[in-house]
Symmetry: C2
Subunit: 422 residues, 2 copies
Amino acid sequence: MQPDAISLVPPRGMRDFYPEDMGVRRRIFDAWRGAARSFGFVEYDACVVESLDLLKRKAGEEIGEQIYAFTDKSGRELALRPEMTPTLARMVAARQGSLSFPLKWTTIAQCFRYERMTRGRKREHYQWNLDIIGEASVLAEAEVIGAAYSALATLGLGPADVCTRFSSRAVLSDILRGMDIAPEHHQAVFLALDKRGKLPDEAIGDLLRGEGLSPAQVDRAFGILAIRTLDEASAVAGPQSAAVEDVRSFMAHLQAAGLSDAARFDLSVIRGLSYYTGIVFEGFDTAGSLRAVFGGGRYDDLLKTVGGRPATGVGLGFGDVVIAELLAERGLCQTGGEAAAIAVGYMSVNEQRAAARLAAALRKSGESVDLALSPERAKSFFSRAARNGSLRSVYVGPDDVSAGKCRIKDMRTRQETVAPLP
Amino acid sequence: MQPDAISLVPPRGMRDFYPEDMGVRRRIFDAWRGAARSFGFVEYDACVVESLDLLKRKAGEEIGEQIYAFTDKSGRELALRPEMTPTLARMVAARQGSLSFPLKWTTIAQCFRYERMTRGRKREHYQWNLDIIGEASVLAEAEVIGAAYSALATLGLGPADVCTRFSSRAVLSDILRGMDIAPEHHQAVFLALDKRGKLPDEAIGDLLRGEGLSPAQVDRAFGILAIRTLDEASAVAGPQSAAVEDVRSFMAHLQAAGLSDAARFDLSVIRGLSYYTGIVFEGFDTAGSLRAVFGGGRYDDLLKTVGGRPATGVGLGFGDVVIAELLAERGLCQTGGEAAAIAVGYMSVNEQRAAARLAAALRKSGESVDLALSPERAKSFFSRAARNGSLRSVYVGPDDVSAGKCRIKDMRTRQETVAPLP
C-alpha cells in the first residue's frame, strides 16, 4: 500500500535549520552568549512547556489570545511559552529566600506565538533574555542596553545601524497626574496610546472614553504625543518628578558607556506588555524598515503576581529573526555549515585501517576529521572534500601505506605537506 | 483582589535549569558538540513542533500513544516531537536531489514523551543525534559509536563505565529464515521479543501466535534468545549470511578504533523502534543500574516512508538525563553556574563613573565583569563577590579615583595587583 504523500515542509511559521542555516544562527547565539558573559550574567533555562495558568496570569492582553495551548493525558492545561518572563518570575519566586540579589540572569529561549505571518514575524523565534532583579538603580537599564550593543558589535553592527528609543512609564504617569487623570486610568491610557498607528485615532479615543475619561481628558491624553523632549515632559510632570530624575541618570549612564549617540528619548515608546512600570526602550534599525531588534524595560510587580515578594527588575528581550534580516541586509550574513577541517579518504579496503588510524590520531590532536566510510577513487574523493568545504584533505593509497607516510593537501593553495602515517 | 496561589514548580516531568544546574548541562552539551565536530558531523536543527501526521507515520507503536499533540487556531494537527528521526527524514527527503551523500548530520534536540515518571525518565529530555545517511559500509556504525565514546571520554568516562551491546536485525532475519519463519512475520517477532522482561513469556507467546506463528515456530522464536555468540548465530543463519559478515566487519572496525573492550555481541538487543533493519546497539552503564545511555542502529527505509528515495543510514541517540545521573554517581558532576571573573564595586556615586569605565575597559579586553549597580560598603561588596564565585574583585574608593589606580584582588590568594584606573 502506497502511503499518502506527506508534507516535507515544517509546520507553517516554524523553521528548519539546514547545516548552511546554522552558520548565521550560531554566530548570533555566540554573540549573545559572549555579551552576557562579558557583562556578568549567568545562564538559566526552563522547559518551553509551561502551565497555561502561569502564562495567562502574566501575559499582556494581545499575547493571551496567541498562546499555543493544549491538554495532556492527565488533563493538565499546558502551553508553549510566548515569552520567558512568566517562567523567570516563577523560578525566582520559588527561591526568593535563598537567591542572592541583585541577580543577573540570561537565557536563549525559544518562544511561540500563533499570529499572522509577516516579515520578521514567525510563529516561533529564539529570544535572548537579560534580566536584573532586585536593583533599583537605573544603571541596570544602562547595563542591559550596553550588553545588547556589545552583542551587536560582535556581529559587526553599531549605533549607526541600531538606535534605541526610550521613554518611562513612570514619567508618563507623572504627566497624566499633572493632567488630572487618576492613577487607576494610567495603565489603560498606556495601552490605548500604544495602539497608535495600528488603530485610527478615533478608535483610540473611543477606548479612552470607554475607560471613563472625559472628552477634555481624552484631548489631554492625545496631547502627550506632542511632547518631544525630556524638558517638555518635565514641565508637565512637575519639578518634583523622581521619574524624570531617573531618566536623567539613565541618560548619564548611557553617555558614560559611550551610547549617547545610540539612544534618544521618545515618549511614544510604550510597549504593549502591561508589566512595565519604569523606563521602557526599544532598539530599531536606523533605516526603519524592520520591526524592533530588541526591547525591554523596568518592572516592579512581576514577582508579586506569582505570589513572590515585590522586587524591582529590568529585562531585555532580543529575538533572532529581525537581527538575522538586518545582518542579511548589511551583507554580514556568513552562510555555510561548519565543515570538517580535514577529509581523509583511501583507495581500497587495504588502506582503510591505516586511514582510520590517521583519523583517530588527528582527532586526538583536536582536529575535526571527516573519515571516508568507503574506498573512493582519488578524483571523486577530492571533489567531495571540496564540495563539503574541507580545508585540508589526505588520500591514502597503497604506496603511502608501504612508505608509512601520507600527504596532507591544503585545498586552497594545493600545497602538500608530508606527515607520518600512524 | 488577591490572585489565587499559582504553582511555582514546572509542569510535571519538565525541568527548570537554575544557573547552578547549567554547569552540568553545558558540560554534557559541549562534550557532544566537540565529539560531533571531531568526527566531521555538521549541525542542523528544526522546530520542536512538528505535524502530527509526520510523527505518527514514523513512530514505533509505543511512541504513538505518548505524543503531546494539539490543534492550532487554524485546525492544524501539531505535536511536540518525541524523537528527531522523522524530522530528519523529512528534511533530507525534501532536498534529496541536492544534498551531498553520505551526509553526516548532528543535532541536540529537545524531545517530549508523555509517560510514567521513573528514574532517568522525564517527560522531556535533550537528545544528541548523530546520523549518517547514504552509506552502506558498517564503518558508519563504528564511527557513530566512536563519536559517542569520544564524548564520554571528554566527560571522564570510558569503556569501564559504559559498555555497548549490539545485535543485527538482518542477522535475526537470516536466523528466522533459517527457522522457516517467513519474512512477513519478522518485524512482529522482533517487537514481541523486545518485550521480554517487560511482559511474561506467556503473553509474548500469545503475541506470536496472534501473528499466525505455529506452536513449533513460537518455540523456535524463543530459542533465538539462547543464542549467545556470533558463531552460534552464524550456524543457524547459514554460511551465506551477508548480515553475519557485516557484523564481523563492524567488530573489526570497533577493534581498530580501540573499542573491542567496550562492545559485545548480544542477540537480545532489538530496540523497540520499527525502522531498524541492520545492526542495532545500546550503550549501558557497566553497573547495570540505569537505563540505556545511548542507542541506535541502521535503517534502510526511513526516507521511503516520507516519500523520498530509499537510502540506507545509521543513527545514534544519546540523552542528557541518564548520562547526568551516571556523572553524578561517579562524582563527575561539576555544579555551580558560570560566575563573572571579576566583580567591580564602589563606595559612592562619586566613584560610579570610574568603576563603569574600568568595567568597560576590562570587558573590552575579553574579561567577564559583574559591575555593581549601586554603591556598597566594602565588606558587603566583597562578601557578595565571594558568594557569587567571582575569581577577582576590585573595589573603587575615593582614594583610588584621586590616585588614578585600583587594586585587583585575587579572591583565593587575597593577593592584590595594582592597575591603572582608565
